[in-house]
Amino acid sequence: MTIRFLLSAALATSLAAQVKYEDLLKGPGDNWITYSGDYQGKRHSPLKQITAANAGNLVAQWTYHVPKASGLRTNPLVYNGVMYVTNTNEVRALDARTGRLVWEYKDTRSKKEAVNRGVALLGDRVFFVTGDVHLVALDRRNGALLWQKQYGRVEDGLYGSMAPMVVKDKVLVGVSGGDSGMRGYVAAYQAATGEEAWRIYTVPAKGEKGSESWGNFVEYGGAATWLSGTYDPELNTIYWTTGNPWPDFYGGDRKGDNLFSCSLLAIDADTGKMKWYFQFTPHDTHDWDAQAWPVLVDLPFNGKPRKLVLHANRNGFLYVLDRVTGEFLRATKIIDKLDWATGIDPKGRPILVPGKDPTPNGNRVCPGVRGATNWMAPSFNPATGLFHVITLEQCDVFTSSAKEPEPKKNFSGGGASPKPTELGQFFLRAFDPTTGKRVWEYPMTGPAEMWAGTVSTAGGVVFFGDDDGHLVAVDSKTGKHLWHFQMGEGITASPITYAIDGKQYVAIASATAIYSFALFEPSR
């Protein structure tokens, strides 16, 4: 090793493999290069080394403890044997075969610490957001900083926690903070330069269409864009869900539907213009953000093939919409304990049960504040046609506050918690989206505190984190238990799967560490 060698070699042209837009279009294979694996949000991998027959032979391959982590939300991405994970204001690249650290990037001067859900990849770049709402581009190979762009202000009640989403040559970001009085938006930045391409607000400005649905509070309406979206390249449409209106639990000052909160927005990928919207919970007073990923599937509906979008909502219903037009097609219950609506009418509006708003003395409503499901990632297996959703059977006592709303100060207009004698229970449930019927379910034990999601594989296995801190494998067809591993702490992230040199791995973040699993190899 000589210095001369290094210096001359450093000038040579880089021929490194790059993450191309076409790779993102293809979806997962050996690599897992977007949050949900593919643009449709299916979280389904074609890998099938691990099957329902052999999943019982899974063993831990490595653990990486993320320094100072607690409650990790990171969804790992893997490209060419390197895994990218995040923590608050930090990104790390790990050897995905051994768990060894390759590089780390820390933004030590961020003004806000917040959970982080992961990175996005394009070309030689890794993108992530800081707690204080900066979009950061790093070199994927060594973590070197390329550019950093502030896209919102902590002073405006915003923070950053989502995993960015790459569409063509742009990086899309959303904003968190919808429970304390802010104005949500999705913004797109040029991946190469960080220049803003477009921005769409989820709450109209005063005088704009939809602002009449707000009363006085449109300025701080909320409708945060907590998570990433999904994308249909043929329709050139991005699908993005929006959060609750603010104040969360008191709607007296925001009379009306509060557009476009608790909604699904269909957005033109090039211009950022809204094509259509569908609001799941008009005038929400239970903090039932539209959270889970809108999953794009092509399935027959009433005998005719249709382009659909599936969305399991916090309000307790699984929605099926036409993703070309936004037309409401069907909504079915995903939980048994649901008492705020008797159903959804033919136009998609809930048929309300009177007297279910929060009250100063408390009002028991089902589902509870965390919803029938939340941002725990769902998955869809095209082979079985089943949609896997983490569901929570829980009722909460919702209270509203008579206090004057104060924007940007963590004021939410009330609160909600379960009765101590009536704690919730989690289930992994598989639904048939063509009928809305529940096909199987896997009940969990535990304190009803987890936030873990799912991943589906062509090997016929669904992996998910359970409410007791296990990574669990169940049979895709039946929901039957195949394998579990106790991770020693609660799980607040979703698993992924990838392969290196023909060996399939399953990885997930626990509260403080990244774990990877593969089949036991007796010959080693």
């Binding site: 000038l11 070199d139 190979r141």
Partner: protein
């Protein structure tokens, strides 16, 4: 309500103000803080009066290492000033003969020793340093700033915001001083005859995470390696003290000290 609160605050500030000839706002201020000339004066005073115990580079000796933050970092400027002037009764730290201005200068120097360089930018010609970085120094063959430059060395886009000026200087003139464990030169010959060369970003007996000069990452299973050579050094040249003049190194440190992705906000504004 507000007025009475303000009055209370003023009252509370009086004893501090009396102590240190503080500014009229009622807060003790170090007039030397962030002032390159004053810090340089503080350094001279330090070398003459403090280095006997703390070391010429404040690396420690009979007295503690002042570049490691743990020892004194929790101290407010105010307390640092008092210790420099009056010593620590009952310990080996004696009182000094510094006047107030001198004591502030030494305090500013000590503070700068372990603070990000951007907070106390050292003297030097920034533009000349920039020219050296991209030219004669050859720094950009291995180091990057905002995407421009080489791949093998640490990224310096945020160098001023993450490293103290003295650490930057030491990295240039004595690159092996802190070990640079993540940047050891490495050559691996695989069982199939392929040779990989670059730096080991990490390694164990079983695997190596090697970055080649083109920037490609190689996750090497060492059970499949025929030969592994690890250099005792980082690939950083060890002769900059000879290749560059003292002024050129000062300029380079001054340039690197200004590399901060986020604008520096003085403490009073935070």
């Amino acid at each position: 309500m507000r007025r009475s609160l303000a009055a209370l605050l003023c009252f509370a500030a009086v004893p501090l103000a009396a102590q240190h000839d503080a500014s009229k706002e009622g807060k003790p201020k170090n007039p030397a803080m962030g002032n390159p000339t004053a810090i340089a004066s503080g350094q001279k005073l330090f070398v003459n009066s403090c280095a006997g115990c703390h070391g010429v580079k404040a690396e420690g000796g009979r007295g503690p290492n002042l570049r490691k933050r743990g020892v004194w970092h929790p101290l407010e400027d105010d307390a640092l000033f008092t210790i420099i002037r009056k010593g620590i009764p009952g310990a080996d730290m004696p009182a000094s003969n510094f006047n107030e201005e001198q004591a502030w200068q030494v305090a500013a120097f000590v503070r700068a020793l372990a603070s990000p360089a951007i907070e106390n930018p050292p003297p030097g010609n920034v533009q000349a340093g920039e020219t050296t970085f991209w030219g004669k120094g050859g720094c950009s063959n291995c180091h990057r700033i905002l995407g421009r430059g080489g791949m093998l060395g640490p990224d310096l886009s945020n160098a001023g915001a993450t490293l103290a000026a003295e650490d930057l200087r030491e990295s240039i003139v004595d690159p092996d001083a802190d070990g640079f464990l993540r940047y050891k030169g490495a050559t691996v010959v695989l069982a199939n005859g392929t040779t990989l060369k670059g730096v080991a970003r990490n390694r164990t007996n079983y695997s190596m995470q090697l970055q080649d000069a083109q920037g490609n990452l190689h996750m090497v299973d060492l059970s499949k390696a025929k030969q592994v050579d690890i250099s005792d050094h980082s690939p950083m040249p060890r002769n900059y003290a000879q290749r560059l003049s003292k002024q050129e190194i000062d300029d380079l440190v001054a340039f690197l000290s200004r590399q901060s992705v986020r604008p520096f906000e003085p403490a009073e504004k935070k």
